[in-house]
């Protein structure tokens, strides 16, 4: 998303785009299953992130989905020929340039296409460091994969150049949205309460059959946390960076003081991942209640943090 803006002549760091779109979140969704395991999200879905920025900056982002592969490919090619930068929702499994072991059927992988060279698309993908190429056939397959959160060829692009943002108004609004999601979501599965709910389901993991199923479940939590994009702890660090940048850009220094606290919470998430990995590798005995305890501590820490962030936001006069 940050590169989409940079291309339109508005340089913005990844962290700033992440924070302004109120992308930080937590959700535990046991009714959505990936290979039989629940969906756990540490940020908002990409669509919400993009719309969040769109609202704030007036980008006129248009989303399109398609009923047929041919129509989706034709539209993508036409937009590229117009010189547009196009975002795509894809299944990471079908992208040939992704390392083999990271290719799972996960449908919310977003990437950016900025050109075409014959039958190859030129792609900027957060997983790859450099520009990668992807053939038309492979891209079509990735865009029209089936399953949970099926992309249906979804693409998006900007129709207006971004206006210079009023960072104070935008920043405050984004803080309201994030604290609301984390503390006061109407669903008990979202935000801090979602962490507690997840803790409860970890605590109740059955240990029969040598605990292999429990190990897979725990591994899945960490995988959702660390492997998808920058990861759960990574998103906390990114948001901390956003707070620093926002403080610098608006001169509201109270946000600076909050950043280190969120960094500490990110560290705590990493410790949780390490503890889980040790149990998976059988270096430590498998004790789900211990991990559940860590999750509860994290929920408590995040609750405290977002309450303070909310206070700081309320005290922000301009």
């Amino acid at each position: 998303m940050s590169s989409l803006l940079r291309n339109a002549g508005m340089p913005m760091s990844e962290a700033m785009a992440f924070g302004l779109s109120s992308a930080l979140a937590f959700a535990y969704l046991p009714f959505l299953r990936l290979n039989g395991l629940p969906l756990i999200a540490y940020r908002m879905p990409p669509g919400a992130i993009i719309s969040g920025l769109d609202r704030g900056l007036g980008l006129g982002v248009r989303f399109e989905t398609f009923g047929s592969r041919a129509a989706g490919t034709a539209r993508l090619d036409a937009l590229l020929d117009e010189g547009k930068l196009v975002g795509l929702q894809t299944s990471i499994y079908w992208l040939p340039y992704i390392p083999r072991d990271l290719r799972f059927h996960f449908n919310a992988h977003n990437l950016l296409v900025f050109g075409r060279d014959g039958d190859d698309y030129l792609v900027s993908d957060p997983v790859a460091e450099t520009v990668v190429r992807c053939t038309r056939t492979d891209m079509e397959r990735a865009r029209f994969a089936k399953g949970l959160l099926a992309p249906k060829g979804r693409l998006y692009y900007m129709t207006q150049p971004p206006a210079a943002p009023d960072l104070v108004a935008l920043g405050r609004k984004s803080l309201i949205r994030t604290t609301r999601v984390m503390l006061y979501a109407p669903l008990p599965l979202v935000g801090v309460r979602g962490m507690r709910w997840l803790a409860r389901s970890v605590e109740r993991l059955p240990l029969d059959g040598g605990g292999d199923a429990a190990r897979l479940y725990i591994g899945h939590i960490v995988r959702m946390q660390e492997e998808i994009g920058t990861g759960g702890a990574g998103f906390r660090f990114m948001y901390a960076s956003f707070l620093q940048e926002l403080a610098a850009a608006t001169g509201y220094r109270a946000l600076d003081a909050l950043a280190p606290r969120l960094v500490a919470i990110g560290d705590q998430w990493q410790e949780f991942a390490i503890a889980a990995a040790r149990m998976i590798k059988r270096r430590d005995p498998l004790e789900p209640p211990k991990l559940a305890g860590r999750l509860r501590e994290l929920a408590q820490a995040e609750k405290g943090f977002f309450q303070e962030l909310n206070e700081a936001r309320r005290a922000w006069r301009h």
Binding site: E14, R100, R141, T230
Partner: protein, 131 residues
């Protein structure tokens, strides 16, 4: 996470790719730092991959013993489950499960074979055998 604590353990799963992560520098500011990977990530990714490979091996053994059709093996090899394969082909789950039966599989229509092969990303000829 301090800048000097950014994991550089060389996660083999990333195949040499690096990841950009935010870390705290000496001045207390967060900045992007390239990471070569973290052992924890490698552990959980390998765990998930190995679980899928185990399913594929089981299915292969059963197919060779005549207890299952090659379709089940190819499904696991494509890291899918019955629900996903059924959706990708556009048929009911029970039909997919039925096609795992070694007596039913040989009677599938060429059209359905083609659709299975397409959904699994292999050619129709490869679908017939286990290798």
């Amino acid at each position: 996470m301090r800048e000097r604590d950014v994991p550089q353990e060389g996660n083999a799963v990333l195949e040499g790719h690096r990841k950009a992560v935010y870390a705290v520098g000496a001045d207390g500011k967060l900045r992007l730092v390239a990471s070569r990977g973290w052992e924890v990530e490698e552990t959980v990714t390998r765990q998930a991959v190995e679980d899928l490979e185990r399913h594929a091996e089981d299915a292969k053994r059963r197919a060779l013993a005549g207890d299952s059709s090659p379709l089940e093996y190819h499904m696991y090899r494509a890291r899918m489950d019955v629900a996903l394969l059924a959706q990708a082909v556009g048929i009911w789950r029970w039909r997919v499960r039925r096609h795992f039966r070694p007596d039913v599989f040989p009677r599938l229509s060429p059209d359905l074979r083609r659709r299975y092969a397409e959904a699994l990303g292999i050619d129709a000829a490869a679908l017939e055998k286990v290798d």
